[in-house]
Symmetry: C2
């Protein structure tokens, strides 16, 4: 019998920090642990090298008539520091109450094991299960998945499946599962304004030239309307409308606007017209300033006119905004609004497109959506409703997981993103933990989904 | 015979860096050198302790009927680093061509010795010179003269003179002396804007709240008009008009607008209407942003919405603007223009009032101006014209020397600021030097001024 708690403990003990080369042995042990575990299930395992951390790929093959589900996970974790804030050791799992503590317990070791365990149980009950399964477990998620796009392009033939299934998103409470149906895209960049060729004495020269900080402030101040929209012509042209069912789902979220405001610690919300705070993050794009700098920032004062000033910008995008097209609009607006007397350089950073999938059976289900995907969504809804006592919420989210859009673009596949971690799981923070009751119920749901895909259940 | 070059070499060898406690022995040697030199002239020397660096005060007393000139200098210098950019050692003077190289040669050891040498020569020729002289040589000028205000308040009785005479300002070329007739005041401060209680994930929460960087940019962008004035009601109310003679003096400056633009390295000037660049720095106040910061400023991107952002502000003021009153206007404007959804804190920094003296004989000479001051100005004009071959320019300057306004406010005394250093003297920079030809001619002018004050010359 596959003991998922024992496996999770062993998995957490592999100190697999991808960001820090000092953890290379832990990364290797972790890969070997995953490979061994999947071999035990009878899967054919390959360890695929990349420029950084190899990807574990494991396959249960079968006739082309069997449906093919691809399960994604990542074996790398965030660095554990600050160590002094942990109650128990980050890489020595400890169960306290219904939670298991340890770095990676919730992100993503526990949630990935939900699906591994479900498959193990199903195969134990039915060794000839008519389902093809591919597991793809990467080791670079916490450093931005730089090798993943190239991996799926190169292995496109082995990844001709029906859908991806994964749990690397969140839920608001232990009995409210969320199936994430959309993610915002992102495009980042930087604007720099240069004035005089060097910093100048503000007494000797102040009053004769445009200060680069002033020019930057003037440009940045034009980028939003007073009512909270991005003030760039064409910015919203590709933004999809919101379906009534999407707003209805949000009504069932279970968090109040007042609770959210308290959490943020702000005196008031500032959302675009027509969108409440829960809607704004999911259905609207943004243009945010992530950083600004220029001149003297130390204690007291230094009376210089700085030579340069810069701001870092990121735009969160919603379907069907294209990152390249949006950045072109931003770049043009910045240049057009740059006052004379200074020069401007705009640099583009990284990007990822937005993603959206319409759950089958809702209004406007796109034509040509795979019937296997429809089965998976229906099975998820049935399973969650039965096991958790409440139907899942089908929601778009404000964050970005660029690999999901990559999978759609490169392989043409949608994903069933079954949320498993809670706000209190402390992802990326000290005392990360995972709720074992959520895990146990998640296993039942995953098992139901795979059984239905194989044509076994109901 | 007083050998001013030998004295200057000895003076430069005292490594008197006030900012760095490691140089305490050099500071002490330097004070003792100054005290000894002034004792040699027959002056009564006191070393007056302060909280940091003692002030050397030396007096040549005499009957109350003798005019009383107070000569100011400072014996401290800027730190010498970066040392690797010096051609010769900073504290080992070296003469190359007509220049003497060494830290402090131009700021302020050489220019101060101009007046000491002039007095030495005069006293050698006329031991019973009917002139009272007080020398005040501080050791904290390069760290902002924190003890000077208290010193003149405490020793007000000994500083009941007719005028101050000093050389700690610049000239544009070796044959064009400038008598500085005005200095801008200053008031500094900082504005901080706080939004959410911590940095937020720009994906999960972007779109629901006002970003503090955006709020800061919006507030800062309101503080200037497009044509280059400060956009705060009442800001210019106390600004004195410009006399026609002041504009005429500037016509003789000898630097073209094109040369100035090349020096600054800017594509165009941005001056308030009605003022060319040379006028704007002297006759108009400013509000400059000296620094700005907030959020992530490292390489690449970090997609946070920062909790806070700040800007450092300094206002250069012209007579008769009052630093307290101006800062009150700035603070009120900032608060009034702060958008809802964030909170703002405004903190005042240091300040110093502007200073102006109308050279006697020009239009609008204030009533009650001391006849001794008039004699000093006339003697400076005669002396400079004769020795340098060109009359001096009487100009206000854009920089701030708060002690000059303090002297006016506390003691009621005006100053004759006889410029001595050149742009190429590299003050505060490696390879600081002083032009010995300017020095020799400056000594003749100073001698003429003191002789005239004593009723001897012409």
């Amino acid at each position: 019998m596959f003991d998922h708690v024992a496996k999770l403990k062993e998995y957490i003990r592999c100190d697999s920090v991808s960001a820090d080369p000092a953890f290379a042995p832990g990364m290797q042990r972790c890969r070997e642990f995953v490979a061994g575990m999947l071999r035990e299930l009878g899967l054919k395992v390959e360890i695929v090298p990349t420029e950084k951390q190899p990807i574990v790929m494991a396959r249960r093959e079968g006739p082309a008539s069997w449906p093919h589900v691809i399960i994604y996970g990542h074996y790398d974790v965030q660095p554990p520091d600050p160590l002094n804030l942990w109650t128990s050791q980050p890489f020595e799992p400890e169960i306290r109450g219904e939670r298991i503590y340890g770095r990676g317990s919730a992100d993503n070791k526990g949630p990935f094991l939900v699906h591994v365990t479900a498959l193990a149980h199903l195969l134990a009950e039915n060794p000839s299960l008519p389902l093809r399964v591919t597991m793809v477990v990467e080791g670079e998620e916490e450093i931005g998945s730089p090798s993943f796009h190239g991996f799926i392009e190169k292995h496109r033939d082995k990844l001709q499946g029906d859908l991806f299934l994964l749990s690397d998103t969140g839920i608001p409470s232990p009995d409210q599962i969320v199936i994430t149906c959309g993610l915002r895209g992102i495009v980042t960049g930087e604007v720099e304004i240069v004035g005089p060729k060097g910093d100048l004495h503000s007494g000797l020269h102040g009053g004769v030239l445009l200060n680069p900080i002033q020019a930057l402030a003037e440009v940045l101040s034009t980028l939003h309307t007073p009512d909270g929209r991005v003030n760039i012509s064409g910015y919203y042209d590709a933004v999809l409308g919101v379906e009534p069912w999407e707003r209805d789902e949000l009504q069932r979220l279970g968090t109040s606007v007042a609770q959210y405001q308290e959490f943020l610690g702000i005196p008031r919300f500032h959302t675009p017209p027509g969108f409440d705070p829960f809607e704004a993050t999911r259905f609207q794009p943004t243009l945010e300033f992530n950083g600004i700098g220029g001149g003297y920032q130390g204690a007291g004062s230094k009376t210089v006119i700085p030579s340069r000033a810069f701001a870092k910008i990121s735009c969160r995008l919603v379907s069907d905004q294209d990152p390249d097209a949006i950045w072109a609009l931003v770049e043009r607006a910045l240049h057009e609004r740059c006052p004379k007397g200074v020069s401007m350089t705009v640099t583009k950073g990284h990007q990822g497109p937005p993603y959206v999938v319409v759950p089958p059976g809702r209004s406007n289900t796109p034509k040509g959506q795979s019937p296997v995907l429809a089965t998976a969504f229906a099975a998820a809804e049935e399973g969650v409703t039965k096991v958790f006592g409440k139907p899942p919420l089908f929601l778009r989210e404000g964050g970005s997981i660029p690999i999901i859009a990559d999978i759609k673009r490169v392989l043409g596949l949608d994903s069933v993103l079954m949320g498993m971690f809670l706000p209190e799981d402390n992802l990326h923070a000290p005392n990360e933990s995972f709720n074992l009751s959520v895990m146990a119920r998640g296993i039942e749901v995953s098992k139901h989904i795979m059984a239905r895909l194989a044509g076994l259940a109901r």
